[in-house]
Structures are given as C-alpha cells and as structure tokens.
C-alpha cells in the first residue's frame, strides 16, 4: 500500500483516506443512491447510449444467426487453427468476470471497507461478463444444437459426457461460477430491494421491487442468518474464483500443444483474470461516478487501491511470461524452444510485442502516485490493459496452434468479418446490460453504505 505514497500525515492522505465523503447520514446516503433509480429522470444521454449499445448487440444477433445457418466455416478458423476468436473472447470475458466476485468475496473476507461502494456493480459486471463468455463455447461448436451432449443427462443411448475432457470441466466451472455469482449478487441486493420497495411511489414499482425483496423487513434475526450466509458465500466464492480460471487454463495446459502445455498456466491465468477484471471495473467505475456524481462514494482511494491491485497482478502476469520463456528454454524441449522463437520472430511477433507493451510496460506507470491519481490516465490505462489481456489470449490460443509439431501442417489464422461482428457484438451486449442495471438497480449497496456511515460517525465520536 505504501508504494509511491507521500508520508501519512500529508494533507492528501487525510483528504483521501475516507472511503465516503464527509457529512453523510443514513437518510442522505439512502436518498442519494436510491434517487438514481427512483426519482432521477432518465437522461437523454442514457437513451442514446443504450440505443447504440443495443444496436451493436443486434449485430451480434445477426452474426450468430448467420453462423447457425452456414456453420463455423464463416469464421477464420481452419486446420490446424481449430480455435480462433470464439475461444479468445471466451477466455477474455471470463477473465473480466473475475474482478466482481473477487472484490466482493476476498475483500469482504479481508474486511476491506473500501470495497463497499464498488462491489455491487463489480458483481453485476461479473454476471454480464460471464453471460458474454458463456455464449462462446456454445456457438463455437460445429453443431450448437447438439451442445446439450456436454451436460450430464440420462440419454436414451445411455452415454454420458467424457469427464476427462477439460471442456467438461469448463462446463461445470463456468456454470457454477455463474450460479454462485448470481446468488451472491442477489443476496447482497435483498435489503436494497426492500429499500426501493419502501421508497418507490408508483404501484407497479412497489410490486416488482416488493416481490424481488422477498418481504425483507430488516429483522435482527434475519440479519443474523443473513450475515453468516453472506460470509459463507464469500468464503466459497473465493476458492471458486481462483478455480474457475485455473480450469479455463486447463483447456490449454492439459493439451499437448507447445505453448499450451505448461504448468505455470493456472496461477498466471488467475492473475491475468484479476488484472483484466480490475481494469474493467475501472473502465466502468470512472464514467459511472462522473455521470451520477458518485465521487463521494467512489473516492480517489478506491481508484488508487484498484490501480495498485492492477499493478500487483500485472507484475504476476509479467512473471508468468518470463517463466514461460524460461521453462521452454530450460527444458530444452525443441518444440517449446521453437515456439518461443516463433513468438519473438514469427509471423505473429507484432502481436506479442504489442501484448508486452500493453500488459507489462505501460502499467509500470502505476508506480507513480501522480498517475494513480489522474483519473484520465487511469481510464486510458484500464482500456490499454483490457486490450493487452485480449492480445495475451490471442497469442496463447492462436499462435501456439499455427506452428506445432509437423511442419507440413503449419498454417495461419486471420479473423473474418463475422469473427469481429460476434466479438464486438458481445461488447454491445455487455454495455446494454450495464445500462439497464444502473437504471433499475442501486449501483452501490445502500445497506452497506449505511454501515459505513455508522462506522465513520462512531469514528468521529
């Protein structure tokens, strides 16, 4: 936490340490946040933004429709490169989906108060990212309508999935992750839904929020069980987060393809996931706090901390790259050594250097206190890191496949229009969901903010 910070007594620190602006009461917190959903009129900006995002999502729908009609041949994949954009995007989105649950769960266990104001939309982001990710393994199959073969159901042929395959592990990991994240998010929402129920004026709103609130009334007995359940979920979600991306990394590390088959993958995929996840949280948090004037809730301290997490995980990722090189060279395995050379000098070398630039070099700026406290820089940086992490997946998935064991089978890959349409389309879907979320649900946990208020007020006493 001390990296590049001035001494603790400095004025900035005093200005920065609070995780919530001064002078807030239970009431004002409640009003301010719930107002965004209930009373605040929907801005024209929201409509425009939503429409753009929604039409981009429409492009995705078309792309997938065409895919179903014609087949995966409309993409750039071939033999030997059997996996292209679909899997790259899948891994990328899943990675992004890691910050939410991580922030909620691990920071909750570590009792990091500053998580409070960002965990709600971070979790939402997780869900939406997982939704985007989850689509790809399904549509990338040659016969998506047969994809249910991958689920264990009693088929008339009496045959079951093949549990030795990492793809089946994926099915379980991703669906579990989706389910648990959803529950975690919803449980956190219940008290706030109750608040909205009690504060909304129109009947329909009252009814909808009322139903969602399940009749929550803030009873001490309920809070009692609620807290232990939430704690347990956090405890369970933490290893889950770590396991999910490890399992994703098994897709590659269990295979024998040079550049895939390496033991560093699980830790370095997890680090990468958190890296990109936090980057995405920043990408969303920064505009959000600006537009809805939440600077007092999402303070510079939050941004600062997230930047530090990015820096740390970024360094782990860098270590991962280094180990890949070292192991390949040290093992003397001629295929691995060749692959390393390919990354540096092969036809795809530019991608690799771009990746190093985005993921390792540029983020080093975060050592500087000034950079960490320049919102614009952070925003750009977060996007750079997202690009970098996407490139990392591209390098791993595609480049490793282009030149493996038998030279006669070497080939190349380049995405088609439909690859791009699907990829960009999922972004549209993601943003669309975010837009809807901030409009109909409290983007910050009101109940937890009240807790913060009570604690800070106690501090003052």
């Amino acid at each position: 936490m001390s990296a590049g910070q001035p001494p603790l007594d400095s004025p900035e620190i005093r200005r920065l340490t609070p995780v919530i602006g001064p002078g807030y009461t239970y009431g004002s917190v409640t009003d301010k946040i719930s107002a965004i959903v209930l009373t605040r009129p929907t801005s024209i900006g929201w409509y425009i933004g939503f429409l753009i995002a929604f039409s981009v999502m429409g492009m995705m729908t078309v792309a997938i429709g065409w895919l179903i009609i014609k087949g995966t041949g409309i993409w750039g994949i071939n033999i030997p490169i059997g996996w292209g954009f679909a899997i790259v995007n899948f891994v990328w989105w899943i990675g992004i989906g890691h910050a939410g649950t991580l922030i909620s769960a691990i920071l909750f266990l570590l009792n990091q108060k500053w998580r409070t104001s960002i965990n709600r939309f971070a979790e939402a982001m997780t869900l939406f990212a997982v939704a985007c990710a989850g689509m790809f393994p399904l549509i990338h199959t040659g016969r998506p309508w047969m994809a249910f073969y991958m689920f264990p159901y009693p088929s008339t042929m009496g045959i079951w999935p093949q549990f030795r395959s990492p793809l089946i592990w994926d099915v379980f990991a991703v669906s579990t992750y989706g389910t648990v994240s959803l529950m975690f998010w919803f449980v956190g929402l219940i008290p706030d839904l109750a608040t909205l129920r009690d504060r909304s004026v129109q009947k329909p709103m009252k009814i909808i929020y009322g139903m969602l609130a399940l009749g929550w009334r803030g009873s001490a007995r309920h809070w009692h069980r609620y807290q232990s359940a939430y704690l347990l979920l956090a405890g369970l979600a933490t290893p889950l987060v770590l396991s999910v991306h490890s399992v994703i990394s098994f897709d590659f590390s269990v295979a024998i393809v040079p550049g895939w088959h390496t033991t560093i993958f699980p830790p370095y995929f997890v680090a990468g996931a958190i890296y990109s996840g936090f980057a995405m949280v920043l990408t969303i948090a920064i505009p959000l706090r600006k537009v809805y004037g939440l600077e007092d809730f999402i303070t510079m301290r939050h941004l600062d901390n997230m930047a530090k997490v990015m820096l740390a995980t970024g360094l782990i990722v860098a270590y991962g790259y280094f180990i890949e090189f070292f192991m390949a060279s040290y093992s003397g395995n001629k295929f691995d050594v060749f692959l390393v050379q390919q990354r540096l000098h092969g036809p795809y070398a530019p991608y690799y250097y771009a990746l190093i630039l985005c993921n390792i070099l540029i983020p080093q700026l975060l050592w500087s206190f000034k950079m960490r406290h320049n919102v614009a820089v952070l925003f750009i940086m977060s996007i750079v890191v997202n690009i970098g992490m996407w490139l990392e997946r591209f390098v791993i998935v595609v480049i490793s496949l282009t030149r493996d064991f038998v030279p006669s089978a070497w080939g190349r890959y380049s995405p088609t229009f439909w690859d791009w349409a699907t990829f960009i389309g999922t972004m549209g879907m993601f943003v669309t969901l975010i837009f809807l979320f901030v409009r109909v649900l409290p983007a910050i946990s009101i109940a937890e903010m009240r807790e913060l208020v009570s604690e800070t007020s106690e501090d003052e006493k």
Binding site: V254, K334, F405
Partner: protein, 1064 residues
C-alpha cells in the same frame, strides 16, 4: 418400347429438320425457358402421353437451350449454396427423365460375368467385383470395379493384369467420378439441339451414301491414341468401304519421340517394354517412368521391389535421373541431375560417347563419368529409359546405349507397337489441317479428342471448323464430334454424340505390353450416350451392330484364335473362353512376344543437336500430374489433389527454378488466412511465345533446372464443365507445332504484370526444421548402423504415467496396425484419391483449400532435405541447397495412437478406442468443438466447417460407398483404417469360424499403392507382413517422444548413392 420410340421419331422427323435456321437460333437467346415452364409443360401432359410430351419438348428450342446452357450457372458449388443446388437438382431430374428415353431404347440385355476367382490375399467382401480396363494413351490399366447394387463405386487394380498387378494410379481411381459427372453430355445434339440417336444414324447413313460416289474422298476420321483392336477394325472396315478416306490421330500429351526414336533406331515403329525389376542400375533420361506413361504402375511396382530392405544385408537398385523439372521419379532417385530439356540430349550423346558408341563427347563430367562407369559395371543388369517428351534422337540413343550394355532381352524388350496403326501424331494432324485448308475435307469425324483446345495454336484448329466469313460457308460440311463432355470442339461441330464412359461400354484395349484387355460395362449408360465404335458403325454398311456383338464377333473370329494359338478345346467352347476372358479381364497369353530388333543406327551418324542459347529461357510443355492433357479438368477429386511435388491444387502455374525466380524477382506471399497450409500469393507473369501470350502465376520449384520454365498443360479450359472451366491458364495457347515440348525465348518474353494471384497450396513449408519427421539415410549408413532411424528418438519410459500400476488395455485379440515404407513411397498420390473414393470424402473447392480446410484423410507430405545451416523453409526463400535438394514423401493418415491425445480431450466421447485399438469417430455424437484436432500432433483430423458434402446432385448419390457414413456439417472426421473393410473381413472370418488371415483386410490406400509402401495388418500376428516390418530396425514412430504410441509407424527411407559421387 424401343419400337414405339422409333415410331415417335419418324413422326417428328419433319418437325425437326428446320431447327437450325438463324431466326430460330436468335430466338433461343431471346426467351430462354426456365424450369417453371418445363414443369408446366411436363405437368400439362400425363400418362401414356408422357414420352410424346418429352419428344415434343425435345423439339422445343427453348428446352434444348435450357438443357445445353453451360452447366456452371446451374451446377452446385462444391460446398454449400442451397438455392442454386435446388434449381440444379430440378434441371438434372428434367434432363435425366429425358435421358431415360435413351435408357429404354437400348440393345437387349447382355450378360456380364462377376469376378469370382479370389486372388491370393484379397477378400472381396459384400459387393461384387467385375474385371474391366481403362484405356489410357498407349496403355490399358486392368481394373476390378466394385459394384454396389449395380452401381460402380470404387476402382481397384486387377492383380492378374500386367499393367496393374492390383495397383492403380490417380487417373484410374478418379475415373469413376467422371462416370457420375453431372456435367457430362447426355444426348445426341445437332447445332446444340437435342436429337435422337436414330436421327443421327439416318443422317450418318445419308452422308455415307453421299460418299459412296467419291469413295469417301472427303471423309476424315480424327481420333486419339487408340489401342483397341475392335475399334481399329471398325475404322479399317470404314477405310475399306471408303478407300479415299483417311484416319488421323492426335494425342496432345504423348510425344512422337518414342515412336520416331524406334524408327530412327530400328527403321520401324516398335514398342519398348521395361523390366525395372531386373535392373541394378537405372538411368532415366527425363523419363517419369514411375509416375506416368505406359506401364508406369507396373514399373513402379517392379522398381519398388528392388528398394525392399528386410535387413542391412539386403541390396538395392540405384536410380540416376537427368531431368529438367522434378517428377516423382526424380524425387525417388539416388542421384538427380537437373538439366535443361535440350541438354538432356547432349547428356545422352556424351554418355554414348563414354560408352564408345559414337555420340559427341562433352568435357569430362564427374556425374557423367560416374554414371557411365556404373552402367558399364552392370552390363545386362542396367537400364536406360528415355522420357516421353524427349525427341527421337534421345530415344534412339537410349536404344543404342541399352544395346551396347546388353540390356535388350534382360531389362527391356521390344514388341510390335500396341497401336494398331502407329503414326506420327503431329504430321497426321498437320496433314488433316492442310487438307481442310485445301477444301479436301467434307466430313470430319472427331472421336474423343478435343483438337480445338489441344491442337498446336499455329494450326488454329478452331478456324478449320468455324463458319468462313469470306467464303460464306464452312470449310468442312459435316463435322461430327464424339466426346463425353460438350467441350470447346463440340461447340463448333454440327453433330455432337455424347460418348459413353468406359464403365458403360463393351470394348477392348491393349496394355503397354500388348495384352488384350477386355472392357466390360459395370452399368448401362446413364444417359443417351454411345461409344466411338457405334458412331463409326453408323457410317458403315452395318450400322446396327452393337459393341457387345462387335467384341464377341471379333474374339470368336478364326483369325483371332489362330493369332493367339488357342487350343482346339478353347476354339470349340467359345462361351467358356468368353466367360474366362471376362472373368480375368484379359485374354490370357495375349501379350506381344518380344521381337528381336536389329539396331540400324549409330550415334555417330546423328546430326548436331540443336541447343538453346545459355542466355535464353527454355519453356517446357508437360502434361499436368492431375488433369493430364485436360481430359480430367472437370474431375473434382483430381483438381483438389495436391500435385506430387508442388502441392498445388485447382490451378497450374508456370514453374520456375529458385535461381531463375530470383533473377526475374518472382516472389511469393503467404496469405494471412490459411497461410502455409492453404493460400499463397504468387506474382503473375505474361509469357509471350511465338506471337502468342499467356498470363500465368509463377511458382518456384526447388530442384528445377535453372533457366527453365514449365508450362503444365490441361488447364485454362473454356468449356470443361462446372469444376474445370477457367481454372489455371491454358499452356496450349503458346504451344506451336515446331516446338511441341520445348521452346526458348529471351528473358524479355516474361513480363511481370504486377498483380498477384492466390494459389491453393496444401504444403508450402518444406523444411523439417531439424525435427525427425522423416528419417532418411544412405545404404552405407544403414549397414553401419541399422538402427539409425531410432537413434535420436526419445521414447519416454512406459512407467512414466500418472496412473502407475493401473492395468493397460490389452488389445490381445486383433491389433490393427500399419507400416509405411518411406523407402518405397514415390509420392504418386494414388492412395489419396483411393481414400477419397472409398470414404465418400467431399471436394471442398479452391476457396476452402485456401483456407486450409481440405478434407483428405491421408495426405502425402513432401519434404526437402536441406543442410542444417540452410535457412530455406519454403519456395520463397533462396538458397544454394534448393538447386537440387533431396526430396522425400511421407503419407500421413491417422496414426491411430493407443494413447490418443484427441480422445482424452473430447467432451462428449465422440472419438473413442475400440477393443482392437482403433481410434474410432462417432459422427453422430460429435458436437464439433475441434479440440481433438487441436490436440492431434499429426493434424490428420478434418472438420466439416461448412456443409461440404453434396447432398442433392442425384448422380453423386450413385457414387457413394454405402458402407461409409456421409458426414454433414459441423462434425470432425478422419482416417478409420477403412473400418468398413475390417468389419467385412471379420464377418467373413466369423462365418467361416476362422481367424482373419493376414492380407484379408486391405485398406483403400494400401490397395491402390503401386509400390506396396503401405502395409496394413494385425500386429499381434507375429507372421503378418506388418508385424515383420515393425520388427525391422528401420521402423520408427513419428513424434515418438510424445508417447502417443501410434499404431501407424514408418520405415526410414534409405538411398543408395554412388560412393564416387558421395565423396564430393
């Protein structure tokens, strides 16, 4: 039925005569008929009236036009476009229904005899097999054709036939697709309008009657190279009927060199038959005798028998090849010397000089000395073979050298020509053209050939048939064309008779050694087609005689009997003889006896050879290894078949040597999509030769002689059909009569257009990157260290496992395995097409090949052995080591790993192991994640990215092998070791309650292989051929270090270089 049809036709005679007046013709194009109208017309009539209706339709110009529109616009794309296909289907059914008329008017049923005798080590399984033969150039390949419910589906070699010995080549394998080609001509037409056969016969008779007076002075017949005695007899009978008529022959891709060479050497036409099996040292003077030309299948077999190594003590023959451009023979050679085509003659002369039989000595040449010495040390057991495209002098010199070395009678012998009437093709065609120009020709009958496309361009054959604007008339009054497709020539002819496929007709043909092979039909003609002989008969006094009777009459003729010195018993019982002949597919003992030819030629007497100036570039015309002279242009299997050396598909390219390429700065660019395994951009060049020009994509070929550019023939067809039209460039366009095979021009004849053209190349990268993909060594090394192939293999210990102590799967019953002897494989590709035919493998088309999505279950990889320091990885690189690199071929089917990496990663268990250790694909379980392909180190898995398989075209449905699933979109597929054949064999074995004996199961690739390089069998049976091969020390595992434990293993290639040349 027959009678009825005749009757109809008479009715329509009147109506049909005036169909070709310009007005009508114009009308055709004004209101073309669409399918809806056809349907309407057909629906309007019902019941008994049906035939009549169609006949009326036949008269209807729009319908005619509809049927004879270029197919491409209607035809299916080879992958997926539903709408076109439906229209096409409708069209086909309409035309099929029409052709059906022909079907019901055929000659009475004739009995064909199933192939009942089961040769050693070959079980024929459920379907019936019939012996027949495919006439091809001066050869006929004996075949056994697999027939399912009367549909010929698969071609195999006839083990009893001398030119096959049970093997086949790509052309024979693919010929079955020609039979079902939807673009085949299907009816008799006149001026492109549908006519009936009887109408044709009548007008033929009318023409004949007209010629009686003039003794057929204006009558000309143009055919290709014919070895069929019956057909020849038919022509002869016409020539006797019309004494002044003439018979011309034109075979574009077979040179006159061999013929004229024999004349030069012996004073008369003779046929040369080689016995490579008896030769210890072979020198090929630009001859691709292992890959093309008469008898090449047999020669490859004989040659490979002398490359067989059971142990270090075994001996091998030695092959020297002198050639301008790499052929499979050159790739197999122990020593290869790239020389320009014109220098080959100089080499031959110099060799003759060295052997002291005249000739013109060249400066002491190390290579030459070594070869000459080697040959002399093997008098009587050496062999010199001259190439088909080489001039007469080279052939004569080869004869002289062979004579001098005393090889005649041991490693080769001479027979009477297999052609009934050998002529100099070029002169023959020239004479015809001259006669036409001199208005001496009134009726021209073109049999099978396509002169408008193939004739030397200075003959301008098209103009001979076109309407003459000055004279306001056609030079030739009646032109009748007989061909399987309505092609470039047909367009300019009056009558076009759709020719029957050889699987639809009775006939005969002589093999390369004179063996009389019988062609018996596997199926009644699919369409209203006729054989060339029938057409000839139509002009004779006996028009009615059908092929069946003609053949039987001929075989039962007394002269014929005496000719073959048959026993009285056989004479007595002709039916027995007939049945036996059909059963064997040949007339036993009909091979020509050797004739002793006395050499009337001395190399000394040769005039000075004409040479190409060193600064000029030499251009060669060579038949394409896949589409030959263009006759296979519409065959999707052959179009998509990677050419043995260049691995190009769907196009021909101007082949240049790396050095010349560098000089002319001709480069390649690997495309981003597909890349090395699909798409390469090549510079486009304009080639101006003999005041004509072609535009071609240039392709660098390592090992090609410098200053040489090869222009492969057979592409750039303007009217071949959907598959073949406008593919590649037409080399005939710059081929002139004075330079049929080689011509030269200064480098200025070549201009870069600045454009690039995408070529579909399935293996651009030729370096092994220092990996032991393909183990090679010399005989010496092998003797010193028989285990050289496995020296560097790092096979992991078996106990190195996550599952220590777990029981392994036993595979104790049958353990199927394959061994591929790289020492024998010459990369001829027969296995690839055989596999495609056996396993219903779709053709995906150029675009998909360029995306790296071709579907071949077995591929033949081509690698060049470049020195470690070399930086050459692909043709775009330039490196001394590429001037003449040792070339090796490696067929790669699924390796059937016991620890299959693909199976472990399949999420749904769609690829699993059988109890016999086969790596099975369960198509209907596959969801298409492609994970298995990613994890396959050999990349032998193939994915149906789109709906590649053609599900609608009716003809192609007939083609399919009913024992193999037809895969649809979205599933993975791969080699199954021909599991359907394994199961057939097991069923037989279990019925007879006996174990499956070795050789009972022959995979398609193994069966087609001319060199016996592929051996399949039960590895548990210690006496099986495969077990013995695997026991050899040469046997090694591809990528053994991965511990996938493949069932398919390779035997290292061993070359037998001449120590004298090695020392350098």
């Amino acid at each position: 039925m027959d009678g009825m049809r005749e009757h109809e036709q008479h009715e329509h005679l009147q109506g049909q005569h005036d169909h070709h007046d310009p007005a009508e013709e114009a009308k055709l194009h004004k209101n073309p008929m669409d399918l809806a109208t056809v349907r309407a017309k057909l629906q309007s009539k019902t019941g008994k009236q049906y035939w009549r209706t169609l006949e009326e339709l036949a008269g209807d110009p729009e319908f005619t036009e509809l049927l004879h529109r270029e197919f491409p616009r209607q035809a299916p794309s080879e992958w997926d476009d539903g709408v076109d296909r439906r229209d096409f289907l409708k069209l086909m059914t309409a035309s099929l229904a029409f052709a059906g008329l022909g079907g019901c008017g055929r000659t009475p049923e004739q009995v064909v005899v199933p192939y009942v005798k089961q040769p050693e080590g070959l079980t024929l399984g459920r379907p019936q097999f019939y012996a027949t033969a495919m006439p091809f150039g001066a050869d006929a390949v004996g075949l056994l054709v697999e027939s399912h419910e009367g549909r010929p589906t698969k071609i195999e070699g006839n083990p009893d036939h001398p030119s096959s010995l049970g093997a086949t080549n790509v052309f024979a394998q693919a010929s079955v697709l020609n039979l079902y080609d939807p673009d085949r001509a299907q009816t008799v037409t006149k001026y492109g309008e549908i006519q009936t056969w009887s109408l044709f016969v009548e007008s033929a008779q009318a023409i004949a009657a007209g010629m009686k007076a003039t003794n057929g002075a204006g009558f000309r017949i143009l055919s290709g190279l014919i070895t069929s005695p019956t057909l020849a007899a038919q022509i002869q009978s016409l020539l006797t009927l019309f004494p002044k008529a003439k018979w011309h022959q034109w075979e574009p891709a077979v040179g006159d060199g061999a013929r004229e060479g024999a004349k030069l050497a012996f004073g008369r036409y003779l046929n040369t038959v080689y016995r490579p099996e008896k030769a210890d040292v072979i020198l090929s003077l630009d001859s691709d005798f292992l890959g093309s030309g008469p008898g090449h299948i047999r020669y490859a077999r004989e040659f490979s028998r002398r490359r067989k190594l059971n142990g270090p003590s075994d001996t091998m023959n030695r092959l020297y090849v002198v050639e301008p451009t790499p052929s499979v023979t050159g790739a197999t050679a122990d020593h290869r010397l790239p020389l320009r085509a014109s220098e080959v003659e100089l080499f031959a002369r110099a060799l003759a000089a060295k052997l002291g039989i005249g000739g013109t000595p060249s400066g002491a040449e190390k290579w030459l000395d070594a070869v000459a010495k080697d040959l002399q040390q093997h008098k009587g057991t050496s062999l010199v073979v001259a190439g088909e495209q080489q001039p007469a002098e080279v052939h004569a010199l080869a004869h002289a050298v062979n004579a001098a070395l005393g090889n005649v009678g041991t490693t080769l012998y001479y027979t009477e020509p297999v052609e009934p009437q050998p002529v100099n093709n070029l002169d023959s065609l020239r004479e015809l053209c001259a006669d036409i120009e001199a208005d001496k020709v009134e009726t021209l009958l073109i049999l099978g050939v396509n002169p408008v496309y193939t004739a030397p361009h200075d003959f301008d054959f098209a103009s001979k048939l076109k309407f003459d604007q000055e004279k306001k008339q056609k030079k030739v009054k009646n032109v009748i064309h007989v061909s399987s497709h309505f092609d470039e020539t047909s367009e300019l002819c009056d009558w076009h008779v759709a020719e029957s496929h050889y699987l639809e007709t009775w006939g005969d043909a002589r093999a390369f050694d004179g063996t009389l092979s019988v062609i018996q039909p596997l199926i009644a003609p699919l369409y209203h087609t006729h054989s060339a002989r029938e057409v000839l008969a139509a002009f004779s006094d006996k028009p009615g005689v059908n092929d069946y009777d003609a053949l039987r009459t001929r075989l039962s003729a007394p002269s014929f009997f005496t000719h073959f010195g048959l026993t009285d018993a056989e004479k007595a019982d002709f039916e027995k003889f007939w049945r036996k002949t059909l059963n064997d597919g040949l007339v036993a003992g009909s091979a020509f006896a050797p004739v002793n030819a006395s050499l009337k030629f001395s190399a000394a007497s040769l005039p000075a050879a004409k040479t190409t100036p060193a600064d000029e570039i030499e251009f060669l015309f060579r038949p394409d290894p896949c589409v030959y002279d263009g006759r296979f242009a519409n065959n999707g299997w052959l179009q998509e078949l990677p050419k043995p050396v260049t691995k190009l598909t769907w196009d021909n390219a101007a082949l240049v040597s790396p050095k010349t390429g560098e000089k002319l700065s001709l480069t390649h660019d690997i495309a981003a999509r597909g890349g090395e395994h699909g798409k390469v951009y090549s510079n486009v060049i304009d080639i101006s030769l003999s005041n004509s020009k072609v535009t071609a994509a240039a392709w660098r070929v390592p090992g090609q002689a410098d200053g040489t550019i090869v222009l492969p023939l057979g592409y750039g067809r303007k009217r071949a059909g959907y598959t073949g039209t406008n593919k590649g460039f037409n080399a005939y366009a710059v081929r002139t009569s004075d330079a049929l095979w080689v011509t030269s021009a200064s480098a200025s004849a070549i201009k870069k257009t600045g454009e690039d053209y995408p070529l579909a190349c399935t293996q651009y990268h030729f370096s092994m990157e220092g990996r032991q993909i393909l183990a090679t060594g010399t005989l010496e090394e092998y003797r010193k260290n028989p285990n050289f192939a496995n020296e560097h293999a790092e096979l992991p210990p078996k106990e190195l496992s996550l599952y220590k102590g777990e029981a392994e799967f036993p595979y104790d019953r049958d353990k199927w395995a394959m061994a591929i002897d790289l020492n024998k494989c010459n990369g001829c590709n027969a296995c690839v097409v055989a596999c495609q035919s056996e396993n219903n493998i779709p053709v995906v088309g150029k675009d998909q090949v360029m995306r790296g999505r071709e579907m071949h279950w077995i591929r033949v990889d081509r690698y060049y052995e470049t020195p470690p320091k070399s930086t050459a990885h692909d043709p775009s690189s330039y490196d001394e080591s590429l001037f003449n690199p040792p070339t090796f071929f490696q067929p790669v089917p699924c390796q059937q790993c016991e620890n299959a990496p693909c199976e472990q990663v399949c999420p749904v268990g769609a690829t699993v192991h059988s109890a016999e250790g086969l790596n099975d694909m369960v198509y209907n379980r596959c969801v298409g994640t492609r994970y298995c392909s990613n994890n396959c180190p050999y990349k032998v898995r193939r994915f149906n990215f789109l709906r590649f398989q053609d599900w609608e075209t009716p003809q192609l449905k007939l083609l399919r092998n009913p024992e193999v699933t037809v895969r649809s979109r979205g599933v993975m597929e791969k080699c199954t070791y021909c599991v359907q054949r394994i199961n057939n064999a097991r069923i037989d074995a279990e019925k007879s309650n006996a174990p499956i004996h070795d050789g009972a199961i022959v995979t398609a690739c193994e069966q087609a292989c001319p060199t016996e390089a592929i051996v399949f069998g039960n590895a548990n049976d210690k006496n099986s051929r495969v077990a013995k091969l695997k026991a050899q020390q040469r046997n090694y595992t591809l990528l053994g270090e991965l511990n996938a434990r493949p069932r398919t293993t390779y035997l290292a290639a061993v070359r037998n270089p001449n120590p004298e040349l090695e020392s350098a």
